[in-house]
Symmetry: C2
Amino acid sequence: MWPTDRLQKLLGIEHPVLQAPMAGASTPAMAIAVANAGGMGALGCAMMSAEQLRAAAVEVAAGTTRAVNFNFFVHEEPDLAKHAAEPMHEALKPYYADYGLGEPVAPKAGAPSFDDEILEALLACAPKVASFHFGLPKAHVVEALKRAGAKLIGNATNVTEAKALEVGGMNAIVAQGAEAGGHRGAFFGAPHENDMGTMALVPLVVDAVRVPVIAAGGIFDGRGVAAAFMLGASGVQIGTAFLRSPESAAAVLHKQALAGTPDNATKLTRLFSGRPARSISNRLVRELAAHEADAAPFPTQRAVIAPLAKAAETQGSADFMQLWSGQAGLRAEAAPSAEIFRRICDEALALLR
Amino acid sequence: MWPTDRLQKLLGIEHPVLQAPMAGASTPAMAIAVANAGGMGALGCAMMSAEQLRAAAVEVAAGTTRAVNFNFFVHEEPDLAKHAAEPMHEALKPYYADYGLGEPVAPKAGAPSFDDEILEALLACAPKVASFHFGLPKAHVVEALKRAGAKLIGNATNVTEAKALEVGGMNAIVAQGAEAGGHRGAFFGAPHENDMGTMALVPLVVDAVRVPVIAAGGIFDGRGVAAAFMLGASGVQIGTAFLRSPESAAAVLHKQALAGTPDNATKLTRLFSGRPARSISNRLVRELAAHEADAAPFPTQRAVIAPLAKAAETQGSADFMQLWSGQAGLRAEAAPSAEIFRRICDEALALLR
């Protein structure tokens, strides 16, 4: 028995364990596997066009009748006019040259922030759950999705953000500790100064809001799940643990890097996307450490690094690849998502008995 | 009932909750209060001369017959010959001038690392428990203290350090998550790259060593204590929660800063001492952020900042004071240490029932 059923009732799930959306690594197959195992499966839709979103939703619906969480980015659109591209350009020249890629490419806009075209496509999918990273969706988005019956989840890295998300209509809040892999969802204050760990963050957020709180960051087995409940969370969100599963779309080199991660080997870096995200440290992260502040604004930095990452990958190297990982990435298991999910739930339930 | 009594038996305590040593803020009165309440009281002795250590031990012995933990620093002695003092000197000039202090002082050695004179004084106190920060004490120190019947505790910020401490003879290991206030105890790798949070660190360390693990970092009430046990810890170490107690020697301005800390306001900084330590962000931390790398090696940077801190304090300002605080510093209570200790234990025991 879970200590509380708040999240189960809210989201229509059996176990209060959410698979993190992980845009680029999650797949309909992963979301389906977790949903059918009784958890909250999720699909990271931030990089999808409206057409791709529709197709993915059709695929999900064919695999499960259960609720699945569709996740989007609601970051502020970058202003490249304010960005000095020269220092990063110069720093990357030798690397581009090494791979025969010519001049480093300029930062350019990638996937846009959540907009009305995506909203329309999402509403057409009749979503039961939607979640947002990097802030609060616009008021008309919240209203439209709630009217359509969707439950909404926001992501907070500190107490101020959590309060803003509750006031803005979120039905549940992920309290994302700094241990978490991938992007910090911070939206108040400098993102790189938001470094609260799960142990401190979760109880502070629990005390500050009335909606259910979902603990995220550093949780990789049943012990972390049980600990999160002791901290007052109503559930947990787990990402990295699923990255090596067959349902994960993470690159082969990414999966290998996770398996071989030495102790204490991840780092929050802006170098891959322009926003702080936790990756296994690799050549790019190490050698360009002094250029963290020169990264182009999110997500335009992606375009700057992508050619290097691709060229290296072709040669079998993850030297420039974004190797998203939480701080316990070395514990990610090469097992089916449903099996990982069930093991974690079983361990937690045994501890919480 | 606590889930395990490993630490209670090892250290001769009733409740597996350790008061963090906090050199400069802990006092014999605090250690006595916690010890007599059934916990592990501690005295931070890193800044004490042999004479001061003897006097403090006499004071402690007069207040309690229970075990108290004597804590020391075992950092590598700094090599100032390798340090370029000019950038920090230049950066501090305007601040020194503002306070009429003349030229910034040069870095200089402060309290030495644990040495044989202190060892002799410590042995004369017949310590039941001693603990060490920033590494492993020398082999003859471990041997002498164990022969004298003392139990030894080391501090790890990652798995590699934890294994080294176990091999080196430590009887228990503090797994110090990045949420913790004051100095990161890291000694393998660049200290500022050791950023593992308590939620990820504790279970990884528990799986890697056979000695009892003590969780530290971000724990401020019974919820954190209960969570630590779920993670596999045999006990917890709590510091910041005691900083506002009447037994705390923290400066009045430090206590006020804790009470008024806004959300998410601490930062790991090298500016105060030369090693990464978590402080409430203040004017020094903010305005000299770009000079983190220019700090003199630990602990010689202390001498550089001390005159500024003192001058500002005299004028009622904490602008340059080291305001050590964990990430939940705003929850520190202005209550007697024994009362804080009992509340935390009661809350945890209720959750763990």
